[in-house]
C-alpha cells in the first residue's frame, strides 16, 4: 500500500487499527441483524444459541459455550431468559446431576423455519457474495485460532 511505503506508519492511529475495525464491524453486524431478529423476538446472542441448538439439540451449557466461546457466567442468564420466553427447556441430566441439558421447545424448533432466509437476506443487504463472505471468514478464523492458542 502507498500508505505503508510512503509515509511513516503510526501504530497508534485509530485508522490503522485492525482491532477497532473488527470491533466496529461486530457491533454494526449485530445492528444489521436486528430488524430480522426483532421479528422473531430474539436478540443476536440468542440467535447464535439457536444456531447451535438447531444443529444439535439437548446439549449441555458448556458445549454451547465451547462453540460460541462463551462462558457459563454469560450463558446461564442468557439461557434463563430464553427459557422465560419458552424457547427452550433447561433440565438436569439424570446420569450427572451437575449437567444441565438444553432442549428446544416446539416454539424454539419452529423458529428455524422463520429464520431460514435471514443469512441470505443479510448477504444481499451487505452486497456480499457467499464466496466472498466465506473467504473473509477463513481469514478471520486464522486470526481466531492464533488468539485461542
Amino acid at each position: 500500500m502507498d500508505n505503508l511505503a510512503n509515509k511513516e506508519f503510526n501504530p497508534l492511529k485509530l485508522e490503522n487499527q485492525l482491532c477497532f475495525t473488527i470491533y466496529a464491524a461486530s457491533r454494526l453486524m449485530t445492528r444489521q441483524y436486528q430488524p430480522y431478529l426483532d421479528q422473531l423476538g430474539i436478540t443476536y446472542p440468542q440467535y447464535l444459541v439457536f444456531l447451535v441448538l438447531w444443529e444439535k439439540d439437548g446439549i449441555g451449557v458448556n458445549e454451547i459455550g465451547c462453540k460460541l466461546y462463551l462462558n457459563t457466567n454469560t450463558l446461564t442468564p442468557l439461557l434463563k431468559r430464553m427459557e422465560q420466553l419458552s424457547f427452550i427447556k433447561r433440565t438436569k441430566c439424570c446420569q450427572d446431576e451437575r449437567k444441565v441439558r438444553i432442549y428446544l421447545s416446539e416454539k424454539g424448533k419452529n423458529l428455524k423455519e422463520e429464520a431460514k432466509n435471514i443469512p441470505l437476506e443479510m448477504a444481499k443487504s451487505l452486497n456480499c457474495s457467499v464466496e466472498k463472505a466465506m473467504c473473509l471468514k477463513n481469514e478471520l478464523e486464522i486470526l481466531i485460532n492464533q488468539m485461542l492458542k
Copy 2:
C-alpha cells in the same frame, strides 16, 4: 471452495456464519488486549477513546462517537468513569453551552508513551504482519461501509 461446489450449502450452520466469526474475533481480540490494558488500568473501549483523543484533544462527545460509531448514551458514562480515574477532564464549551469538550489530563497524555508498543506487540502475538492486518482491515471496511449506508 470444495465446500461450496460439492455439498449443499446450509446457510443456518454456525460454521458458515461470517457474522459469528466477526463477533467471536471481536471478543477474543478484546481478551487479547486485556493484559496490556490492565497494566495501564484501562478497558478496551477506553483505549479506543484514548486513540481518538491522542490524535485530537479537546473534542466533543459527539465527535468521539462519530469516529467510534458509539452514541452518547454509551459514551457519557464511559467518559465519566475516565474522568473519575482522572485520565480526562469534561468541560462545558463557552460558545455552545450544550457541548462538552473532552480534554486529556497529564496522566492521560502520559499514557500514550506507555501504550505506544501495544499495537506491534499485539501484531506479534497474533502472528500477523502489518501488511496482512491492513489488508484484512480494508476488506472489513468495505463491509462496514455497506452497513453504514
